[in-house]
Symmetry: C2
Subunit: 326 residues, 2 copies
């Protein structure tokens, strides 16, 4: 799977974003972390340990960051608890999906730590995901807004559909570009969109416009993640090149490469890491990576261009998505 969560944290970029936005952003991010830990600890044992490990494994917290940024800086004295709750809810959904993915992928590690699947088995990981799903809605409901629950439910439904689509398409080397993009919309872009909309709704910002920004950033994020699987280097991604190809996940670089070099169609199913690396080299030689990167950058450019009111911090997030891969 081309899962961005296996990549190193943004780290420095978040600091830059915090500096650009200032205000209560850093403190709000800390409250999101604290609340995520509390929710994990509230699970009935032994689920509390598994949920805690899932949350502690961390990640970039890019989705909560988008919620908080899209919410803008609430006026002094305005309660920002709803913004924090929305950020927590989005990250819970994301975490739930990851822990279920790990079961399906039989993934031993995520972000360098043993997964719940690896340490406690399928049942533990399945239940952990279900728990995090349930708590996401339990958290968001305190905002008292039906539209927010609906947005989260729709995005979660899309995520499930997207994950499945990816697996149904496994090893289908003739998957169309349209279908690939639809899959990325479902499995990545929709939750980014939801993050931005939820933040906007909490502070009365234009949620449709910010949602469109989030959706584009999410799509570009996924495209660039798929490029990274082919381009490496391993020091940056933390996994061998061609991992998606070995898993049968057919992504943009291959889809573009098979047009540029039709002989690739017969090479699409590597069976060893060495074969996967060799296929990556051939995809790169076709020029498809430049094409794929250019498409992603155009989507980011469009996201920035169409932004309702240019916001320094959100622009930085958009740029950081690009920079991770340049």
């Amino acid at each position: 799977m081309g899962d961005e969560a296996r990549r190193p944290m943004l780290g420095g970029e978040v600091d830059a974003v915090v500096a650009a936005r200032g205000g209560g952003l850093r403190e709000r991010l800390a409250r999101v972390e604290e609340r995520l830990r509390t929710i994990a600890a509230e699970a009935a044992p032994p689920l509390d340990g598994h949920a805690g490990a899932t949350i502690a494994a961390g990640g970039k917290r890019l989705r909560p960051l988008l919620v908080l940024l899209a919410g803008g800086e609430p006026a002094v004295g305005v309660d920002d608890a709803g913004l924090v709750r929305a950020a927590v809810a989005v990250e819970l959904i994301h975490s739930a999906t990851l822990v279920h993915d790990d079961v399906l992928d039989a993934a031993p590690l995520r972000r360098g730590r043993p997964t719940v699947w690896a340490t406690h088995g399928r049942a533990a990981a399945t239940a952990t995901g279900d728990y995090l799903f349930a708590r996401a809605f339990g958290e968001l409901v305190d905002n008292g807004r039906a539209d927010e629950i609906r947005i989260l439910s729709d995005a979660s439904s899309a995520l499930a559909a997207g994950e499945l689509l990816q697996r149904e398409d496994a090893f289908r080397t003739d998957v169309t570009l349209e279908r690939y993009l639809h899959r990325c919309e479902l499995k990545t872009a929709r939750l980014f969109e939801a993050a931005c909309r939820l933040g906007a709704l909490e502070t009365g910002a234009p949620d449709e416009d910010l949602g469109a920004f989030g959706r584009r950033i999410g799509l570009a994020f996924q495209l660039l993640d798929d490029v990274l699987d082919v381009s490496g280097p391993v020091e940056r991604t933390g996994k061998p090149r061609g991992t998606d190809l070995l898993d049968g996940t057919v992504t943009l670089p291959f889809i573009l490469a098979r047009e540029l070099d039709p002989s690739l169609r017969d090479a699409a199913r590597p069976e060893t890491p060495d074969e996967a690396e060799a296929l990556c080299d051939r995809i790169a030689a076709s020029g498809a990576l430049d094409d794929a990167r250019a498409r992603a950058l155009e989507i980011v450019a469009e996201a920035k261009r169409e932004m309702p009111a240019p916001d320094a911090a959100l622009l930085l997030v958009a740029d950081s998505v690009v920079e991770r891969y340049s």
Copy 2:
């Protein structure tokens, strides 16, 4: 697993309940079915097919029935859409759990039909469960009541914890009675309680009292289901006796039997269906089944006794839980 959903439908009992309650109950039950089908069909392909198959596999719809009954008969002209939505949401959560259970159990059949796991694999079944979870909250939110979402989220969290507890306790023949009862509370009673509370909240009935009724009925339901696994007969349960024992699920009959006949402690891990049948015979010979049944019946009696305002239809449901096993 001692899962009641593998049992034949209540059928006749539902007809009796409908007759006792009259009013719009039958029509509301039909609307629940229709809505469940629609929600399945709304999933992005290929998830729609899997969700549809899960819903079509049916079951007793006991939880939606409890929602509708606890809601009473709304006054003429009062909108009952919220009641139907709550019934749908509870069944979606239940279905989500079952489809995830089938993955963990590698179950080929449920209610006599091939499971999504069997026909389309783990990824399809995992995604189907996630989708149904997400849609449950998306459905309930239209009632515009934060307390209802919270109840559903809490019950879903409990369910996940209960399922996990069961699997963590697998093959632990020294599991205590207290821990067993706690597991049943989490994995069965809490969703029954939620069903009754949601129905009550929609019509202004006393939700705590009706919730306590539901919780007791749910607990008795699980206890009797566990008795049935040992007692059979297979014509009634549709599965060989001792299926739980073979799966390592240690339930009330064994827990009581090991006190009555300490030699059973060494026989607690049957490895073949024949050994499981033999263990069932020994448990039955210990007198533990009568004891287990009596405990369940006492819980049902207590549920009826503590009912805030005796309701003929709910009393019938309580009795039907008992009658399935007598």
